[in-house]
Symmetry: C2
Subunit: 223 residues, 2 copies
């Protein structure tokens, strides 16, 4: 979901597939912690997640962590290391552009905060919304964008505006000094220069799901 074009720093950029598997390991560990297990072997992780054991060992080597022979990884240490490594323990200030249905929904999701995302302000073109707050997050008029980004040290701009406005909003966010865009619209955002663009196009995911659903073998669709 990360668009190409971000320069690697000395080639040490972690492969995206690894970065997407690491949260699986963390999620699985949280189920173990409730069972009070101390160690987890690569083999067991591999079976539970249907990932090749050698792949898991390689993924975890990026964290500088190694399992003990026969025992495997210490669950709490591995969980803590993953949590820190993935940035979930840091506080990343973000601004939500578009405080409509999806934007407001994301502002209401306390889960994002648990994963290190701190939405400190919202922006909306609707004059009725400016000056209000949604789930405790104050909403401002677009004219406030520049000063907000600087004053609140905002590095991430979340885009949840209508499709037609997405590119303009992206340009304004970059101009204001934001370093990463998290795009929830189905639009392809174009940026020049060194800006990270992460796409979470939930409506596009629907299209893929509908298509696969419509193409399931007939016998399993019929009741």
């Amino acid at each position: 979901m990360i668009q190409k074009g971000i320069a690697a720093k000395g080639g040490d950029l972690l492969p995206e597939p690894t970065l997407r598997r690491l949260p699986w390991y963390l999620a699985y560990l949280s189920t173990l912690k409730t069972q009070e297990e101390t160690y987890i072997s690569t083999t067991r992780l591999a079976e539970a997640l249907a990932v090749d054991p050698s792949q898991i060992a390689k993924d975890l080597s990026f964290l500088g962590i190694r399992g003990k022979t026969r025992l495997g990884y210490e669950v709490n240490t591995l969980a803590r290391t993953l949590h820190e490594f993935l940035g979930f323990g840091k506080c990343h200030n973000a601004i939500m552009t578009g405080a409509g249905s999806l934007g407001a929904a994301l502002m209401a999701d306390s889960g994002l905060q648990h994963y290190g995302l701190n939405i400190v302000a919202g922006i909306d073109t609707d004059p009725a919304l400016a000056g209000t707050s949604i789930s405790g997050v104050p909403v401002y008029a677009p004219s406030e964008l520049d000063s907000l980004v600087k004053r609140l040290d905002i590095k991430i701009g979340i885009i949840a505006v209508p499709v037609e406005a997405a590119q303009d909003v992206a340009d304004s966010l970059v101009a204001a000094g934001v370093k990463a865009l998290w795009n929830f619209t189905p639009t392809r955002i174009r940026v020049s220069g060194q800006t990270v663009v992460a796409n979470t196009s939930i409506y596009s995911h629907l299209a893929v799901m509908y298509n696969r659903l419509a193409n399931l073998p007939h016998e399993s669709i019929a009741d």
Copy 2:
């Protein structure tokens, strides 16, 4: 985001990359419609979306639609065809499991309805939530799952429960007769047989974005 293992029907399954690009085209067309343009050329689509023109022609050929020489595609026809083809014009009944922060947020997002997703019921283990409704969607106890899926002809189960419960909930949804799972947890869901699993792991996307943000070339991070 679709997990492997879904059997193709005579090999005519649309490639996922194509299915993920088609919504870009639709989104871009909606910006044109406000400008009242009649035709769009492949070249212009290609420039706007940074997709190779031959790729666009190939993607659109799956829809059985061809552009006119020199003019290109008729905007309204192409938009309507894409909308229908992607399943956004149909009504897909879905059940939300987990009516907590993220689940409630998704139930509140009217955008999903515009893209053909009709959340007809919610399920939550919290006894205080059963019997209430969230954004107009009634919430039930888990014991109601089976009868709801059958009675309301629900084909899609959305998973927005805590990580620890995700696999059990997935199993219950499949047992109840749901044909597709839309998984919002960072867990890797495992299903046997012919069930579509679509993963929208928004928290995993955060991990990738944080990593890329931390690895931006230094000069562009500095203010």
